[in-house]
Amino acid sequence: MKKISTLAFCLFAMPAAWAGSEDTYAEFKAMMDRSFKTTGIAAKHRMYQLDFQKACSQDKQPAKAEMARIEAEQLKTIRYPADGKYFGNWKEGEKIAVSGRGLTWTDKTPHDNGGGCYNCHQMSHHEVSYGTIGPSLLEYGKLRGNADDVVRYTWGKIYNAKAFNACSNMPRNGDAEILTEQQIKDLMAFLFDPASPVNKK
């Protein structure tokens, strides 16, 4: 719901570093507005940007202060597991990491989504088809251990990557309700469990 409420503020505001004229930007927004339509679960309001999305819509990153402001704001959205349990089932987590499905206009429900992790990350010893947009997460738990701060950071990163890098390419899996709390727990287990193929050859 918060996504829609911010809409009014950003419809006609320009990104801070935008070099063109205000008229051109207004024309651009009008073009986007008439060029997209609602199909299935992909409603037209998806085209309306959140403030930070707008700030990150340039060929350069925003200024440091702006980045820090966004990160501080996004950090507040992270909800840690209420029961204090960070780890689910790594086998379920692997399925979530493999699946790149969900939230497109050809998907029937907005609730049954994959994490698409392999699209961008190397993760396990046995899957050779991995992307390189994000860093390799091979042997994630083995290399980093499972101290509280590492565990909490990892949870936060999956939940809302923008809290740590304002214009990160990584989706806000928790904040944007892409994945459920249980799914994030399963992914955590996939990353940290010594028996998971992330850590075990």
Partner: protein, 269 residues
């Protein structure tokens, strides 16, 4: 309470120091390149182009006329090299048009076919299937040509600016833009290498090899179809067929690719 900034540094250090760059991936990529080369001979696009040639010459629509007098920018009936110079600004319509919207204009003016019949059809169904065949035929006649986009008209310059804004426009539940995947060098999704569409070389290899036959589903995809699926994967709302945003993006890509080589129809994963 954990200091998240400190944790990040720890995590980054661990990542950089210990995890080797994925060398194994390179051998695999070599293997996949060999696979793609094996497919290049015998591109099933030829089958679609043959249908398109028939459609181009066949009298159709309320006016029972063929498309043989269609002006794709190089004069009526000239298709050789035409798509290598599209999108372009057309004086008769007062619009910047890509290949597909220009063909729609020809279908309307020469044959009396309502453009909405194309816009509203499902992909590879009805008039959109016919459009795909026509596109396959037309782009085959530009294979090997140089991409030459005429950027002199102010309308083209404006569309380029709009297209660039659209390219970086992050939105939707996943915060993606075109640049998320196509705004860096040497990246890939899964095993798929991603052209860096901000650069001339990247744009030339991307723009220059579409439209294409996709072996994964055995379908011939036009550029509008390609862009539509990019937005689907971005999880945005759906772009309207032939809409200005799609044409603006095409202008941005094609202009960035200027001077590159057209290899159409392409053959893709």
């Amino acid at each position: 309470m954990v200091n998240p900034q400190k944790s990040i540094r720890l995590a980054l250090l661990a990542g950089l120091a210990v995890v080797p760059l994925a060398q194994a991936g390179d051998e695999l990529l070599d293997g996949i390149n060999a696979y793609r080369e094996a497919l290049a001979d015998g591109n099933p696009s030829e089958l679609v182009a043959a249908e398109g040639e028939e459609l181009w010459k066949m009298p159709r629509g309320p006016k029972n006329a063929s498309l043989e007098q269609c002006d794709l920018g190089l004069g009526p009936g000239v298709i050789k090299g035409a798509s290598a110079q599209l999108p372009r600004f057309f004086k008769d319509t007062g619009k910047v048009q890509d290949l597909e919207t220009r063909l729609m204009t020809c279908m309307e003016t020469l044959q009396g076919i309502d453009p909405q019949a194309v816009v509203k059809a499902g992909w590879l169904k009805g008039e959109k299937e016919k459009m795909a065949a026509l596109v396959a035929y037309v782009v085959t006649a530009s294979n090997g040509h140089k991409i030459r986009i005429d950027m002199r008209p102010p309308e083209m310059k404006k569309m380029y600016e709009m297209g660039k804004l659209a390219f970086y426009y992050r939105t939707g539940p996943m915060d993606f833009s075109c640049a998320t995947c196509h705004g860096d060098q040497g990246k890939r999704i899964r095993m798929q290498e991603l052209p860096d569409l901000r650069t001339q070389a990247g744009a030339a290899s991307g723009w220059g090899s579409w439209p294409a036959y996709r072996v994964s589903n055995g379908q011939f995809w036009t550029m509008q179809h390609r862009l539509n699926d990019c937005f689907r994967q971005q999880r945005t709302a759906e772009p309207i067929y032939g809409s200005d945003a799609t044409i603006a993006l095409s202008v941005y890509l094609a202009a960035t690719a200027n001077g590159g080589k057209v290899v159409t129809p392409g053959i893709k994963r």
